[in-house]
């Protein structure tokens, strides 16, 4: 572990302990940091979590897996789409279900849209924390277009609940893919404008460069994931390492940094958004509006609801609707699986133990923000107290996910 040397100027100093948060506006929620300061230098930092704990994992033991989907919206509330789809993929792995090709393409597009909107919000708040207030408005204007897409896709802007076990909640409207394409095509313009303001701006560079450094070894030892890990120079992306949803078919690159400081994390997230746009463009080319969203064979019918028109007219489908809603997909007893996806914040894992019914015996989330936070003490040690805000912002923690 790295131990930055604190300069001794020959003065007699006293250590001071101060609380940052849980109501500090720059901690992105209710993170409490107990900082030990020696003058202006941070010698120790301990993050305290749990102010937003809602016990989602415990609640999930008493709800059917289908009912847990809205709860995952409230974990990482900046990318609910990838949380939903991650849980659905995990349950599908547990019960051995194969989704259709169209569903996979739609899920890829939804996940990547969530990644871009999440990174845009990170960009806005990161710049705001450092003092560049203008970027906040430009990034939010762009992000609003993505939320309009989500609204049209799912019915609401924020807590989408779009994933369903075996498929998605609803089909896209006519010509929706063209709308997605238009929005995605115009995003690089906004990113270019923001990069013009930030990347070569001396103030921004000096606030970020060599601040919150974490070495490659430390990053691996502390199991950092996502853009924060890649900034330290580790080429690790679950979309490439363990491809899911057919990510192996799309051409994209993993941006990797060299120094592992806040500036690298900024550059990597900017590049990641551009790569996501490329993935969406490739996926939309494969999208076939006429293909079925749900599989049509008889075995998979036990997992999802029959079409509404048939429920209203046919007795068999009506019984089927009741059976799916109350009994749901049957999980194998005591079979346990771990499934992870590359969420915008990092590796989002789901550990599920089946119970023989449609309620999980145990459901555990490996949330990336929580694991990423434990690298804060090492990142902050030896930095100035003013850099704490920049480092916390560059880690991109979402406290809804940290505390669950």
């Amino acid at each position: 572990m790295k131990d930055k040397e604190v300069k001794n100027l020959g003065l007699r100093t006293e250590k001071m302990t101060i609380n940052m948060g849980p109501q500090h506006p720059a901690t992105h929620g209710v993170l409490r940091l107990v900082l030990t300061l020696d003058g202006e230098v941070v010698v120790g930092a301990v993050p305290y979590v749990g102010y937003l704990h809602r016990g989602i994992e415990k609640i999930a033991e008493n709800k059917t897996l289908h009912q847990v989907i809205p709860y995952t919206d409230r974990m990482d509330y900046l990318s609910p789409m990838s949380n939903n789809i991650g849980l659905c993929l995990a349950v599908e792995k547990l019960i051995g279900f194969e989704t259709t090709e169209k569903c996979r393409v739609m899920r890829v597009v939804a996940c990547e849209l969530a990644r871009i909107s999440s990174h845009l919000l990170w960009l806005a708040t990161d710049a705001l924390d450092i003092g560049a207030g203008t970027v906040y408005f430009y990034a939010f204007t762009e992000r609003e277009k993505y939320y309009d897409l989500f609204e049209e896709m799912t019915g609401v802007r924020f807590t989408v609940s779009y994933g369903r076990i075996g498929g998605l909640a609803r089909d896209w409207k006519k010509d929706f893919e063209k709308k997605v394409y238009d929005v995605v095509l115009n995003t690089p313009k906004c990113l270019d404008e923001i990069e013009r303001l930030l990347t070569r701006n001396r103030i921004f560079v000096e606030r970020n460069r060599d601040v919150g450094v974490i070495s490659r070894e430390d990053a691996i030892a502390l199991s950092l994931s996502g853009p924060n890990l890649r900034a330290s120079g580790v080429e690790w992306d679950i979309r490439k390492a363990y491809p899911y949803l057919g990510y192996e078919r799309y051409k994209f690159e993993i941006p990797v940094g060299e120094h592992g400081d806040c500036y690298d994390r900024y550059l990597i997230r900017m590049e990641e958004m551009r790569q996501s746009i490329e993935i969406i463009k490739q996926a939309l080319k494969e999208y076939d509006p006429k293909a079925p969203l749900w599989p049509e064979d008889n075995d998979s019918q036990k997992v999802f609801y029959p079409p509404k028109e048939k429920v209203l007219t046919s007795m068999e489908e009506l019984i089927h609707q009741f059976m799916v809603a109350t009994k749901g997909p049957k999980t194998p007893k005591y079979k346990e699986i771990y499934f992870c996806i590359e969420a915008p914040k990092g590796e989002l894992g789901f550990y599920i133990v089946g119970s023989g019914t449609n309620v999980a015996h145990r459901l555990h989330f490996r949330s990336p923000s929580f694991v990423n936070l434990q690298s804060l003490p090492i990142m902050l040690q030896g930095d100035m107290v003013a850099d704490v805000v920049a480092t916390v912002a560059s880690l991109d923690p979402v406290l809804g996910e940290v505390d669950r």
């Binding site: 809205p70 609801y305 809603a325």
Partner: protein, 164 residues
């Protein structure tokens, strides 16, 4: 792909050109189309398929469509729905004597609409439900049916307007 970090040129280190650049960008944005909606004066119309307040619908015979099968009550993740079933002379045999939705608990996930086997519950485009008292947010059957009558609920009848 290793992301190269840029090396600042000497004029970029001067800081003044960056200020100029930033001001120019702001100036350019002055003439762009405004994106904010002046909410209370300017009304925003949700798109088709928006998930707002769940309401009860009335059939063509003027009765509520609900047969109190309690499937929505079962599936509701925050358990915001409560139904007390009753018997009736009508061939439908069962009807909801009492039907409560607690909008303080409702998360507008749309599961109730998804599972309802007789399309009796419907998510309306209503989203302004705030109140100063929590007890006022528990809506009974009469109020839900009344809200449902106001809704032009049939599919494809609504035309979404553009934002702003």
């Amino acid at each position: 792909m290793i992301v190269k970090r840029p090396v600042l040129k000497w004029w970029e280190r001067l800081y003044l050109p960056v200020v100029e650049d930033g001001l120019l960008t702001t100036f350019r944005h002055l003439f762009k189309k405004k994106v904010t909606v002046q909410y209370p004066e300017e009304r925003w119309v949700p798109p088709e398929g928006f998930r707002g307040a769940p309401v009860l619908l009335t059939g063509l015979d003027g009765r509520e469509k609900c047969t109190s099968c309690k499937l929505c009550m079962f599936i509701c993740p925050p358990q915001a729905i409560r139904i007390v079933a009753g018997e009736t002379e009508h061939p439908i045999e069962k009807y909801p004597q009492e039907f409560y939705i607690d909008y303080g608990l409702c998360i507008f996930c749309g599961y109730c609409q998804e599972v309802c086997p007789c399309e009796a519950i419907w998510l309306k485009h209503e989203f302004e439900l705030a109140d100063f008292d929590r007890t006022n947010l528990i809506f009974g059957k009469d109020k839900l049916l009344q809200m449902g009558r106001q809704e032009p609920y049939l599919k494809g009848k609504e035309k979404p307007l553009k934002k702003g």
